[in-house]
Amino acid sequence: MAVGLTWNVYDANTMTQAEIYGKVLCRLGEENKDIVGLSADLAKSTKIGEFAAMFPDRFFNAGVAEQNMFGMAAGLAKAGLIPFVSTMAVFTTMRAGEQVRTDICYQNLNVKIIATHGGISFGQAGTTHQCTEDIAITRAMANMTVIVPADGIECANAVRACLDINGPVYIRIGRGFEPNCYTTDAYGFEIGKAVEMNPGTDITLICCGITVLQALEAARVLEKSAGISARVINMHTLKPLDGEIIRKAVAETRRIITFEDHNIYGGLGSAVAEVIAEYGKSCAFARVGLPDCFSLVGYPEDLYSHYKLDADGIIEKVKEVMGKDFEDDDSWEDGF
């Protein structure tokens, strides 16, 4: 009697939920003949392979050569095409980081980057294939729009919406095994406008990517078991950041925690902290993510649990921050 599961890299396509992105790209490819696809020997695991199968003449495999791939994408954009480029986040932002910055962002070219295996979603592969720096890196690239969808449905929305921007867009997704937190794509996705997923008055949990679903579960448990009313915000766009929803949360809940599958430096937590600091009104604040370390090896669910990015970890952190003091300011006009 065999033990384990027999599968290969081809079967992986049917095991993932994020294949929805590949399908959306195929539909867009039918509508717009200028869309071309590129990957660097990762067409299958990044799902852009579906586009490649449908439009073989409009897909370019660069081989295991990411720098050249992003340079080629810049050239294709210069020739009037709209390249969608897909490879792992770590190779996008670091191996080919300069091509992304200099060839694509500096020239403000219409290149859409779908970076997969963001954060520690490919935990078992170890640090070489994880990427907990990309939000910081891409946020610092002028002209770049940075999106971290909460699930496959939002990814599909982002892939559609990014065509409305005539410039570079970085869409960071996981490995494709992540459960959905949306049940429909008709919730009014708009680049740069965060979504309040759960109302709350005691504390605000600002999340992106996989932590959105975990925070929603945590909020349900907190409400029921501890009577804590936690607002959950899906900050799917990291740049341009929705500052208004953050200031509103400062004014209305006075407690904020950010949760992200990224180093705590430079990512969502830092971005939110910048807004709070510039707002000038105090609130209890904490950032949760990779605490400036490279991740342990392991399956993502175990790692998310270890780094307090799952529902249990979020609940624990909320209880801690609920006990924190913050400076009262009598001159505040509550209600924002």
């Binding site: 370019f60 050239g75 095409l81």
Partner: protein, 279 residues
């Protein structure tokens, strides 16, 4: 078509002017990559006055040929070339490198008319050129892409990634040049990081190689026309040049990779440029 005597006289005149312009712009800029700009002159002159299908009055003309100066450090030669060809007023170059000038050391394609892309960081141009060539093919356009690399630049691994892709996708609508002036900043290429056997490397990557005297219009011209007609594989023209060509005290002297000139040296340099017959 072979170059006529009349053409040759005109090309030499344009080249002489461009070399003097490089000296002037270097002065206005306060310093520039002068050696690698001077080695490039005949290639630029031949492309911009004979082979590129362009209309400086319509810099964005869709059917224009594209030119990528992958060795973007030679902006001090490229900018006056574009000015003399009529893309913008030459006098604007007096602000080269100065506050908020469109002209910096490495030209910004979004600011400088006629510069199809922004270059400067080495090892980027050929990848973009391959992308452009693929784009032209996909859109069924007949325009060509021309790309000039430096030899020191070919230390960059990304050049060879791009070469691999050009051969793989058989981008014969792309013509690549290497300005083989034998030096990078720190010294002779073969001392700093050897690239020989250089032609063999390109052949091994799937290119058809043409090695020519990069200061000879006849040799360059023949290589370009053969490259244009080639359908089997992309062509690289390795143009053997002399760094600092045209100014005696700069020729083959790595110290003039980058430098500035005072008014006395400018007179001296221009005197030599006036007397030398090149190409």
């Amino acid at each position: 078509m072979p170059i006529t005597d009349q053409e040759l006289r005109e090309l030499r005149g344009h080249a002489k002017q461009l070399r003097k312009d490089i000296i002037d712009v270097t002065f206005w800029a306060g310093g520039a990559h002068i050696g690698g700009a001077l080695s490039l002159v005949e290639i630029l002159i031949l492309l911009y006055y004979k082979y590129l299908h362009i209309d400086p009055g319509h810099p964005d003309m869709p059917e224009r040929d594209r030119f990528i100066l992958s060795k973007g450090h030679a902006g001090v030669g490229f900018a006056p070339m574009l000015a003399r060809r009529g893309y913008f007023d030459f006098e604007l170059l007096k602000d080269f490198n100065k506050f908020n000038s469109p002209f910096g050391m490495h030209l910004d394609g979004n600011k400088v008319k006629g510069a199809d892309v922004s270059t400067g960081s080495l090892g980027h141009g050929l990848s973009m050129a391959v992308g452009m060539a693929l784009g032209a093919r996909l859109k069924g356009r007949s325009w060509r892409t021309y790309c000039v690399l430096g030899d020191g630049e070919c230390n960059e691994g990304s050049v060879w990634e791009a070469a691999m892709a050009a051969a793989h996708y058989k981008t014969t609508n792309l013509i690549t040049f290497v300005d083989r002036n034998k030096y990078s900043v720190d010294g002779p290429t073969e001392t700093v990081m050897g690239i020989e056997p250089f032609a063999d490397k390109w052949r091994a990557f799937g290119f058809i190689v043409k090695e020519v005297d990069g200061h000879s219009y006849a040799a360059l011209s023949q290589a370009i026309e053969e490259a244009q007609a080639e359908t089997k594989a992309p062509v690289v023209i390795i143009a053997h040049t002399i760094k600092g060509k045209g100014v005696d005290f700069m020729e083959d002297d790595v110290r003039w990779h980058y430098g500035g000139l005072d008014s006395d040296k400018i007179v001296e340099a221009k005197r030599y440029i006036e007397t030398a017959v090149i190409g």
